[in-house]
């Protein structure tokens, strides 16, 4: 198992390099540059700026320099945030985003998995109906709707909680953003667990367990839950990466100093290094989360042994 995991981790590097290469050239070949201001800079100033950031070198040289920096863990200087490195920017924002995302992920799973189990065990009952309605609503309310609505209702109208702000992550400030992020996690996990459990509960070996006289609770906990979690795990891999690297929407709506805004902001400003840095972070997170999901797959279902 350890060797398998190690081999997989080593296998991630070529994929990551491919991703970095593709992103680097696509973003550099797109028209526009970081120094296209509203009013044109004097040519001399512009040339100096470009020389200072190494933009005057051929693209291939720049690419090699970038990859070289990446290998040393250096994401380069930001073009727009003067005197700031991309490392510093991300180090400032990512922990906030990741902490918020982790809490939301945990909350969503803690609510969603039991809800899905209950709905499957009481299929067609009132609990199932309730779960269906709650999850359908949560899925129909994307973050950019749910966030402003929560802020409007609990912040501006009822005045129970601050409508926005962060204050170093105080509970009162974090509650609404966490709920906004956790709602889709709850809905998806409840639905996936429900359908997974229903499928497993119909399988032969569960019927056999029932025929042996095992109680419903014992069947679910001892036999059914593990395989029933497979679809959830498959979904959770990529989804966790998205939640953990920060949501631009949630951070904009609630004014949170996270890393989510860097990607869009960087892309709009042609802040090449910032965009690349976020793509690297997001790529690493996605690949690691997918790997974790694959390993969990192998643990949950011993039949799956990938070549």
């Amino acid at each position: 198992m350890m060797r398998y995991a190690l081999a997989r981790i080593i296998g991630l590097f070529p994929t990551l390099l491919l991703l970095v290469t593709a992103a680097f050239f696509v973003i550099r070949l797109a028209p526009g540059g970081p120094f296209d201001e509203e009013r044109a800079l004097p040519p001399q100033v512009r040339a100096n700026l470009e020389a200072a950031y190494g933009l005057d070198a051929p693209l291939a040289t720049q690419y090699l320099r970038y990859v070289g920096g990446l290998l040393r863990g250096d994401l380069g200087p930001s073009f727009k945030h003067k005197d700031m490195g991309v490392n510093e920017l991300i180090a400032g924002g990512l922990p906030v985003s990741a902490a918020l995302g982790a809490v939301a992920l945990a909350l969503g799973l803690l609510l969603g998995v039991p809800l899905g189990c209950l709905a499957a065990l009481h299929r067609a009952g009132p609990v199932d109906l309730g779960a269906t309605i709650v999850t359908a609503l949560a899925l129909a309310l994307p973050a950019f709707v749910l966030g402003p609505l929560l802020s409007l209702a609990f912040g501006l109208q009822l005045r129970w909680l601050p409508a926005a702000g962060w204050e170093n992550g105080s509970l009162r400030h974090a509650l609404l953003p966490v709920i906004t992020l956790a709602a889709p996690v709850m809905a998806y996990s409840a639905r996936l667990v429900r359908s997974g459990l229903l499928e497993v509960l119909g399988a032969d070996y569960i019927r056999a367990a029932r025929a042996r006289g095992l109680g419903q609770r014992r069947i679910v906990l001892a036999h059914a839950l593990r395989p029933a979690l497979l679809p959830l795990v498959g979904w959770l891999g990529p989804a966790a990466a998205v939640v953990l690297t920060g949501s631009l929407i949630v951070e904009t709506v609630f004014g949170i100093p996270g890393a989510g805004r860097f990607l869009v902001e960087g892309a709009l400003n042609r802040d090449y290094t910032l965009v690349m840095g976020m793509i690297v972070v997001y790529g690493v997170a996605t690949l690691l989360c997918n790997l974790a999901a694959d390993l969990a797959y192998g643990w949950l279902d011993p039949r799956i042994r990938r070549p």
């Binding site: 994929t15 067609a124 709707v145 119909g202 690949l287």
Partner: protein, 284 residues
């Protein structure tokens, strides 16, 4: 035993009733959106600086109120609804076609071809969606509807491709594919006659569930200011505008938010119902 059968039949009926209700709601929503230009005396983009930010009901001709420029909220919301629906439907269709073709070929071919094709999907998955769209938007001009469509569809097909590929891989091991090969059917014929019909159910069901997702993607982009541009509006851009003014004029947020929620909710419920009927895995 009889009890549980009855219960499940009852559940199916309830499910279908929900799907039916969703279909009716959806049809009504579409009808109103399409008929809006005749239902409202105000054009969607007509500016009336004399009556800015009217609350709903303050003026009989502006039933849902006006925005800061005095534009009728109902007319604008319905225009947004039309654009969101159009982009959602088209993007779902495009991504279904690409995803099915890609996934079926990869899954049936197997081996090295499959590995390469799926590695491409993995890499596209690992690219942030926003990045994609921003690149496309800057290359081809921000706010153009075809570009928006291409950008959204370019992400939407990935999951379909994975679903179809998984199904095709499983089907490939089935005896009837071996039988077809031993009968002398060509690869193309096997894909067309045996693989595609057998994945059609899940694909249709998934595509129905993709439509609301695509609508949400589009609204998300418009919320960021990367989507549909003024004077046109989509539900997302209206929600974005509304969220900025929600303290003084909450109706600017509530109207498009309610429409988007109702739209995606009914599409989701309808899609779930379709899946129950079309996906053989859900009823053995």
């Amino acid at each position: 035993m009889a009890g549980s059968t009855l219960a499940s039949a009852g559940r199916d009926l309830a499910r279908h009733r929900a799907a039916l209700a969703a279909a009716v709601a959806l049809a009504a929503l579409c009808l109103v959106a399409l008929a809006a230009p005749w239902l409202s005396p105000h054009a969607a983009g007509a500016i009336d600086l004399a009556r800015p930010a009217l609350a709903p009901g303050a003026d009989a001709s502006h039933g849902w109120g006006t925005d800061r420029l005095g534009r009728d909220v109902f007319a604008r919301t319905m225009q947004g609804l039309r654009i969101s629906l159009l982009i959602g439907l088209a993007a779902a269709l495009v991504s279904a076609v690409i995803g099915v073709a890609w996934g079926a070929v990869a899954g049936y071919a197997g081996g090295r071809i499959d590995a390469v094709m799926m590695r491409i999907v993995d890499i596209l998955y690992a690219l942030p969606f926003v990045f994609f769209v921003i690149i496309l938007a800057t290359l081809f001009g921000r706010g153009s509807v075809p570009v928006l469509l291409a950008a959204i569809a370019s992400v939407g097909w990935l999951t379909t491709a994975r679903i179809v590929r998984g199904q095709a891989l499983a089907l490939r091991r089935q005896g009837f594919i071996d039988a077809a090969r031993a009968m002398g059917s060509s690869g193309g014929r096997i894909l067309w006659r045996h693989i595609l019909p057998n994945v059609a159910g899940p694909v249709i069901a998934y595509t129905a569930l993709t439509v609301p997702q695509m609508i949400i993607y589009e609204s998300f982009l418009s919320f960021l200011g990367l989507g549909v541009q003024e004077p046109l509006a989509s539900l997302g851009s209206l929600i974005s505008e509304g969220a900025r003014d929600m303290e003084s004029a909450p109706w600017l947020l509530l109207a498009p938010a309610a429409c988007l929620t109702l739209l995606t909710l009914s599409l989701n419920v309808l899609g779930d119902g379709l899946r129950d009927v079309l996906d053989p895995r859900t009823h053995p």
